[in-house]
Each structure stands twice: as structure tokens, then as C-alpha cells.
């Protein structure tokens, strides 16, 4: 069969599906279970959340909260070099009448001397601003991300603690929007909204900017409405300092952000009023991997860490009594089924149908899946860019990327399965680049 004939046959098959109901049921039989039981309810849940947010905000009388606590911004620096000045400048620039203490923690300041010197130079720049000061904490010996965060937390003095990446810069209203929620005593953490700063660099970066729009801006916002925010990002997390101090800060090991989110949620069962909020208007702009290799490396870490965290470290912590029912279900659903189990189902199903079904059938199914995800992506894209975005026209210009997006997500999901296997077999979190091996090998979890 020539390629043309193959494509022809596939098209006919897909068209017939919609004409011949029996065939459609047959295909749906294979396709629907995971879509229906895993994905659709989740998507509807999130969309419902977004609409709830939108109506709430539209009808709510705008409150002028006069709450300006001292904010400590722990900037985690490693080898960012000149890029770090963007972050420090953007923090000094904040339109915020309260005090902002910028704490630049440099991990391994001996080998990262350049970054250290760049930060040292910024001292006078920051001092020119009222109510801003720059504290430099050089950790001469490298100790990993977590040690930097904890060191930063210990030298900080603000009521609100922000954990920020050295390669992330912020909109000038970030501190205002991020800290106002803490006026409510029950708020313990706020997840910031992350945008992609270097999206012009490559197609891979552009697709990630779309991914961040959909999975962070839309999904977290939807989840936040039900107090089930899945993660407070490590690149941009805002916390009530007294609370994280109370739970002894961050644990060493990888995926420290997800770990802390999980540990905070373990208080939700007992203290039902505690909240983690996603603030879409606290915006950070970060650099994402611009090449496929870097992206795969990053995801190998993230997705592997997910498995390690839920199945190895917090095995015993999965209890509705601790987490509350809402978060228990949400973590099982989104964290485990969606992010860990589903990649295997997709991979398994694709492999299974490739070997057992005729080529056109498999291809047809894939096209169907593609159309389904394209629609999902379009819905979320529109919700995100039209309802939620503060840079609407910029975001709408990215619509041409949508046709590539389902393929990108499909490949990312397959890779997630590979990452989980790698963690399962190789304990790859012990060789993470986030901390030196001599730290990771001692991690007891």
C-alpha cells in the first residue's frame, strides 16, 4: 500500500465512524474509558471552577485591602549570571508601599563567583529604592535547592515569604497581588502564576508557553476555587512564613515544592479553614528549556519525582482524614491517575492497537484522540486568554500553535511514562541536578 492509499483509507475510516454508529461504538469502547472516567470529569471540574471564579470576580464588589505586610523574597540563585539582575530589578520595582526584603541566596558561591559578583553590584541599585533592601547570602559550598530555601527562610524577617527562582522576573504588581491574600488568617500559601519569558526562542519554548497558560493559569485557577491547588511552584511560591517555619520548612530531596504542598495539605483534614490560593495576577516570567533535550531532561526529573513523592515518600500520608476528602480525591485523581497512571494507559493503548489492529484503525483512533484534545485545548485556550489573561492580545496571537499542541502533549505524556519507569527502576531522583549527590544520598525518604 502506498502512503497515499494509507492516508485515504484512514480518512474514509474516520468519516465512516461518524456515519456508521456501530463502528463508532466499537472505537469509543476502546477510547472512551479513560477519557470519560479520567479526563472529562477533571476538565469539567476545572472549567466549572474557572466560571465560578469569573462570575465571583465579576459580581463581587472590588475590595481595597489595606494590608501591606513586610515581604521577604528569597531569590534562589545558582549560575544565572547577568540574568539575575532582571529578577532583582523587577523585585525592586514593585509598586508596593510595604517593605520588601530581597534575599539572594547563591548556592555554591565559589564556583558561581560571577553570579555572586553580579548580585553584589546590584546592592547600590536596590538601596536607591525606598523600603527595599538586598541581603546577599552566599552559600560557599553547594548544598542544593532545599538548603538554599531553608537558609533564606531562616535569615528572612517578613510575614510573607516568597520563594523565587533566580531566572524568574516579576510584574510590578506581583508582591501586591501575591501578599494581599494573607490578610485572611486562613491563607497559608499562594501559588503564583508563571509565564514563559523566553517563548520567542524556539517552537518548543512557544509550546511550553501555551502549556503554562493552560495547565497553570487555567487549571490551577479552577482548582483554587475548590481549595485543591495541585502544587505551589518551586519557581514561584508565596507562603505565610510563620506557618512554614512551624512545619520546619522544606525537606531535602527533589520536588520540594510538591512535597511542601502535600505536607501543607496534610493539615487540611484537621484545620478545615486553611487555604492554598492560586493568584493569577501575581505573575512571574521564567525561562523554560528551549531545546528538546533540555525539555526531556526537565520532565524526566519532574515526572519521576512525582512517582517518588506519592509512592515512596508519602505512601502513608494518603488519608482523607489528613488531607480532607476534597484534596484526597483531587490528589488521587489529578496527581496519581492523571499524571502517573494515564501516561501508561496512553502508551499501552497506542502500543496495543499498533500491534493488534490494522494500521488505518490505529491511525484513525489517533486522529480522533487528536481532535478531542484539540477541542479541549481550544476551550482552555479561549478561557485562559479571553477570560483570565491580563495580556489578552499577546496571548490570542498564540492561537496558531494550537494544532501542534495535542501532539506536543501526547509526546510529553509518553515521556512521563518513561520517566516514571526510570524512577521505578533507577531511582533517578537520587541523581537529580537540583542538589549535589552527597546531599541526595543522605535523604532518608
Amino acid at each position: 500500500m502506498t502512503l497515499l492509499e494509507k492516508i485515504h483509507k484512514t480518512i474514509i475510516f474516520v468519516c465512516e465512524l461518524f456515519v456508521n454508529l456501530d463502528d463508532l461504538i466499537l472505537v469509543a469502547h476502546n477510547f472512551i474509558p479513560y477519557v470519560l472516567f479520567l479526563e472529562l470529569p477533571f476538565y469539567l471540574f476545572v472549567i466549572f471552577g474557572i466560571l465560578k471564579y469569573y462570575t465571583r470576580v465579576s459580581f463581587e464588589e472590588p475590595k481595597d485591602i489595606l494590608y501591606y505586610p513586610k515581604v521577604s523574597c528569597v531569590l534562589l540563585c545558582y549560575a544565572e549570571g547577568e540574568d539575575v539582575t532582571k529578577s532583582i530589578k523587577s523585585l525592586a520595582e514593585q509598586i508596593y508601599p510595604g517593605n520588601i526584603e530581597i534575599i539572594a541566596v547563591i548556592d555554591g558561591a565559589i564556583q558561581n563567583r560571577h553570579t555572586y559578583n553580579v548580585i553584589k553590584r546590584m546592592e547600590s541599585y536596590v538601596n536607591k529604592f525606598q523600603n527595599r533592601n538586598l541581603k546577599i547570602v552566599p552559600k560557599w559550598k553547594r548544598g542544593g535547592r532545599v538548603s538554599s530555601i531553608n537558609a533564606g527562610m531562616n535569615v528572612s524577617s517578613g510575614q510573607v515569604l516568597m520563594i523565587l527562582d533566580g531566572d524568574t522576573s516579576f510584574d510590578n504588581n506581583m508582591v501586591r497581588n501575591g501578599s494581599k491574600h494573607f490578610a485572611d488568617k486562613n491563607v497559608v500559601a499562594v501559588s503564583g502564576n508563571i509565564r514563559v519569558r523566553n517563548y520567542k526562542e524556539s517552537l518548543i519554548a512557544k509550546l511550553q508557553s501555551l502549556e503554562y497558560m493552560i495547565s497553570i493559569q487555567s487549571c490551577r485557577l479552577g482548582l483554587s476555587e475548590f481549595n485543591t491547588v495541585n502544587n505551589v511552584s518551586g519557581a514561584f511560591g508565596i507562603f505565610r512564613r510563620s506557618f512554614v517555619k512551624h512545619i520546619y520548612g522544606w525537606d531535602s530531596g527533589t520536588a520540594e515544592d510538591l512535597d511542601l504542598t502535600f505536607r501543607i495539605k496534610q493539615y487540611f483534614g484537621k484545620h478545615k479553614n486553611l487555604k492554598i490560593i492560586f493568584e493569577k495576577d501575581a505573575i512571574g516570567h521564567t525561562n523554560v528549556p528551549a531545546t528538546i533535550k533540555d525539555l526531556l531532561d526537565q520532565r524526566l526529573r519532574w515526572d519521576g519525582d512525582l512517582y517518588w513523592l506519592y509512592f515512596r515518600k508519602h505512601q502513608s500520608g494518603f488519608a482523607p482524614k489528613l488531607l480532607g476528602w476534597m484534596n484526597f480525591i483531587s490528589i488521587i485523581w489529578y496527581g496519581i491517575l492523571f499524571q502517573i497512571v494515564m501516561p501508561f494507559m496512553i502508551a499501552g493503548y497506542t502500543v496495543y492497537s499498533t500491534f493488534t489492529q490494522p494500521g488505518y484503525y490505529t491511525t484513525g483512533i489517533l486522529v480522533l484522540i487528536y481532535v478531542f484534545y484539540l477541542i479541549v485545548a481550544l476551550v482552555f485556550f479561549l478561557l485562559s486568554s479571553v477570560l483570565l489573561s491580563e495580556r489578552k492580545s499577546d496571548d490570542l496571537k498564540k492561537i496558531w500553535l494550537l494544532p501542534f499542541f495535542p501532539i506536543y502533549m501526547f509526546l510529553i505524556r509518553l515521556w512521563a511514562a518513561v520517566s516514571t519507569v526510570a524512577e521505578l527502576v533507577l531511582y533517578s531522583n537520587k541523581s537529580s541536578s537540583m542538589a549535589p549527590y552527597w546531599v541526595l544520598k543522605r535523604v532518608k525518604f
Binding site: 532582571k86 530589578k89 523587577s90 520595582e93 509598586i95 522576573s169 516579576f170 510584574d171 510590578n172 504588581n173 501586591r176 505573575i283 516570567h285 491580563e390 495580556r391
Partner: protein
């Protein structure tokens, strides 16, 4: 060697008693040493109290400019303030003895003069200590901020050491070693205690503030930040775009100042200096810039001190239309040749013998004599026309060549010189005395006249 020991603390001087040529007399106050009739070669102060050492060493140095002064103390030598006044610390005998004898040897070679004026004191002090460098020392209590401790010790109470130093340098007695600092002084009272303030260039108010400016990338608008702030965000007042991120939507191109008094916006404020002493406000460009150097005795200073020469004092005359002697004679010869061709072109030569310079220095001292001569030179300068030229053939012989001057004119000139002498006599007891002799072409011209012959004949009359 006669040593006076000022014993203000109980401390031994190791090795000093073991030597036969050393005669020690102990005292318990600095005044006793200066009142003693014995001429001591060396003074050693033993004390462990910093203020006490400072006080006694200042007192003794003021009275003894040549005598080596040593200190034996348990205090940290590096940190002490009076190192400029003393010759060293008594640590061991050998070091002490060799250094002290070096100073005394030079001191013994000095010609004993009738008067020890300020110039002599400092010059002899420096001559005896060839490697001594007088450094300016910061002292906030001094109105000039910097002082030279060794000059302060020798100077009279309330005297302007700055001027004295300048005079020594002008006479080439001391030479600059290193530029230490540059200070600015109030042009009104000379105090170096100035307060610098930035002020509005329009209304001179000090109530000015820094105003940050913002540059909107969207429309290129540049305006003060406050015009952009609306509530919790920055919005361009011109294009209405929302500025969210520094470096992406906007930046800060410059920083300007705003005067709260008159509303003037400006980039660079004016700087004025407010004198802490007299309160005069001066522009920074009007301040007097003083460069503070460290000094040491110059080669000329060494010669002057050793041989008691007049050259530094007389040098002040060399500023008046001065020509070297051979040039002076060359011009004179040319005038003689001219006169031979055209006898209307007259000329005169006036010779002066300043015959009491040495006596003056012995009576008044080098500094005052120099000032006296300076006064004479100033008046002489008024007398001399731009076409006249002057020279000196020895320390006391001063010459003037007056072209286009006949005997009549020359007589008038001589009369005016006499007037200067008379008026300077009235000023004080001691005054400058000189003999004036002259030669005019229209009076006694010989055809085989040369400059040398004329000057020789005047010289012989001057020396009478």
C-alpha cells in the same frame, strides 16, 4: 655624651648605664631640663602616658631644635601621634647611639649664628636629619584640617604656618616630596571645614528631591514616575498602556531632581560649600584649592643652612625683569655700540650694594630679613620700567640697566631709590641699607667703553 632623662615612669634603659662616655642626669619635669645650665646632647623621655609624652616632647622640641629626643615607652609605637617630633624610640643602646651621633655630628659642623629665628630652627632641624620628611597630618581640630607638627612646634603662637611653609618653598629651601591630599578652603576665612550641599540651580533652595523618570516602550513617552502611577499599577499617561514589567514594558532612563520650593526640574544640582566657621556660602569653583605635600630639605636649603648663605633671601630680587649677567652685559655692549653711532640714544647703569644683609640676618633672622627685602623688591618693581633689565653679580650687588635714560633721568631714579630707603627706615629699628652708584652715557663716555669696564668701575665705588 650628656644625656638628660625625663623620668615620668619606672622603666630601665637597657645598656645605657654600661658605657663610660655616657653621663646621665635624671629629671622629673621638662621645665627642669630646659632651665638646666648643662648643655645636653640627647634627651630621653620615659613615660607610658600618651598625652604626657605628647606634651613633654612638644615642649622640649620647641626649646631644642637640634638635640635628639628619644622616647622609651611601653605603648604601641606605630600608633603614637608624635612621631614627627622625636628622633626615635629607645629600644636598645646600639641603635640609639649610632642614630644620635649621626645627628650630633652634623649639628657640630654647623656655623654658630647670632640668632635662631624660625627659618634657622626648621632648616637646622632638617639638615641634622637628612632623611626626615615633614608630612601633613590630619587633625580635625585644626581649621586647615592638615597640620605639620614640626612647623607648629617651632612657629610662634598663632602664626600662619601655611604661609611660612610657602615662603620656605618659594625660596627653594624645601622641596615637595609627595602629594598627600588636595583640600578646599573657604575663600573668605580660609577654613577647610566646609559643608557641601546640593541646591536648586534656579532658586538656590536646598529642598530638592530625586524624581525617578519612566520611559514607556509603547509610545516612547518619558515623564516623572508619579504621572504614571494610578492606584496599584503604572499606566502611561499618553498612550494608556499598562506598564507591568521593567525591561519589557518600560525602563528608567534618567534620574532628575525636583525643587520643592520653585518646582524647577533639573538634572544636575548646583553644589555650594557652606563654611562651618564663618558661614559664607561659596560656589565650589570659588573655593581655594590647596595641595598638601610632604616636604624635605632641598639641596639649595642644605647649602644655605650649612654655609649661612644669603642666596635664598636675595633671590627675591631676581623676580624683577631679571636677566643673567652675561645677557645683561651683552645688552649693555649693544647699547654702547648704539650710542657710538647715534649719541641721542642714552642709557644708564645703576649699581646697588646691599651692604648690611649679613648683619640683618644675624639680628633679625632669615625670615624677617627675607620679608624686609621682599618689601623693598615690591617698591623697586614699581620703579622699574618694562624696558629696564636687572641682574645680580654677587649676593649683595644688584644692577639695573636703564635704556633711554640720561644722567638727569638717572639722578631722578637714584633719588627715588633713596626715598625707598628712607621710608623703610621709618618702619622699624633695623632697616635695609644700600649704597647706590651710577653711570650715564651722556656724562662720562669713553670710546673704548665695555659693559665689564663700566660695571667694574661702579663696583669699586660701591665697595668704598
Amino acid at each position: 655624651m650628656q644625656i638628660a632623662v625625663l623620668k615620668l615612669a619606672n622603666k630601665d634603659l637597657p645598656g645605657l648605664q654600661d658605657h663610660k662616655q655616657i653621663y646621665i642626669t635624671e629629671y622629673i619635669s621638662a621645665e627642669q631640663i630646659s632651665e638646666s645650665e648643662t648643655k645636653f646632647d640627647v634627651i630621653i623621655i620615659i613615660s607610658d602616658i600618651e598625652d604626657e609624652i605628647l606634651q613633654t616632647s612638644t615642649f622640649l622640641r620647641g626649646k631644642n631644635h637640634i638635640t635628639p629626643i628619644y622616647i622609651a615607652t611601653g605603648l604601641d609605637q606605630e600608633k603614637l601621634k608624635y612621631n614627627a617630633l622625636i628622633d626615635g624610640y629607645y629600644d636598645n643602646y646600639e641603635q640609639f647611639y649610632s642614630r644620635a651621633t649621626e645627628i650630633l655630628e652634623i649639628a657640630n659642623s654647623l656655623i654658630n649664628r647670632g640668632i635662631n629665628d624660625l627659618d634657622n630652627k626648621i632648616l637646622e632641624f632638617l639638615l641634622c636629619r637628612p632623611d626626615y620628611i615633614a608630612k601633613p597630618v590630619k587633625n580635625w581640630q585644626s581649621r586647615k584640617v592638615y597640620t605639620y607638627p614640626i612647623l607648629d612646634v617651632f612657629a610662634d603662637e598663632g602664626a600662619d604656618t601655611e604661609q611660612w611653609l610657602q615662603s620656605l618653598h618659594n625660596r627653594d629651601l624645601i622641596t615637595q616630596v609627595e602629594l598627600i591630599d588636595r583640600i578646599r578652603e573657604c575663600p573668605f576665612c580660609g577654613s577647610a571645614h566646609l559643608i557641601f550641599i546640593d541646591i536648586c540651580p534656579n532658586c538656590q533652595s536646598i529642598d530638592i528631591v530625586n524624581v525617578p523618570f519612566i520611559h514607556c516602550f509603547t509610545c516612547g513617552n518619558v515623564e516623572p514616575q508619579e504621572k504614571f502611577i494610578s492606584g496599584d499599577s503604572l499606566n502611561c499617561p499618553r498612550c494608556r498602556s499598562h506598564l507591568r514589567h521593567i525591561g519589557v514594558d518600560y525602563d528608567r532612563p534618567l534620574e532628575n531632581h525636583l525643587c520643592n520650593s520653585c518646582g524647577h526640574i533639573f538634572e544636575e544640582p548646583d553644589i555650594i560649600a557652606n563654611c562651618a566657621e564663618c558661614g559664607t556660602k561659596s560656589k565650589s569653583e570659588d573655593l581655594i584649592v590647596i595641595e598638601k605635600y610632604s616636604f624635605q630639605l632641598s639641596e639649595h636649603g642644605k647649602v644655605v643652612t650649612q654655609h649661612d648663605s644669603l642666596s635664598d633671601v636675595i633671590r627675591v630680587l631676581d623676580n624683577i625683569n631679571y636677566a643673567h649677567l652675561p645677557y645683561f652685559q651683552f645688552v649693555t655692549d649693544w647699547l654702547i655700540a648704539m650710542y657710538k653711532r647715534q649719541d641721542q640714544i642714552d642709557f644708564s647703569i645703576v649699581g646697588l650694594n646691599l651692604d648690611n644683609m649679613t648683619q640683618l640676618i644675624n639680628i633679625l633672622g632669615r625670615g624677617k630679613t627675607s620679608m624686609l627685602l621682599h618689601g623693598f623688591a615690591e617698591r623697586l618693581r614699581e620703579l622699574v620700567r618694562t624696558t629696564d633689565i636687572c641682574t645680580r653679580s654677587s649676593e649683595s650687588h644688584f644692577w639695573l640697566l636703564l635704556p633711554q635714560t640720561n644722567s638727569k633721568g638717572c639722578q631722578l631714579f637714584k633719588k627715588r631709590l633713596e626715598d625707598i630707603k628712607v621710608s623703610s627706615e621709618q618702619e622699624g629699628g633695623e632697616s635695609l641699607s644700600f649704597i647706590v652708584e651710577s653711570y650715564s652715557s651722556d656724562e662720562n663716555f669713553h670710546t673704548d667703553e665695555t659693559a665689564e669696564l663700566i660695571m667694574a668701575s661702579i663696583s669699586s665705588r660701591l665697595s668704598k
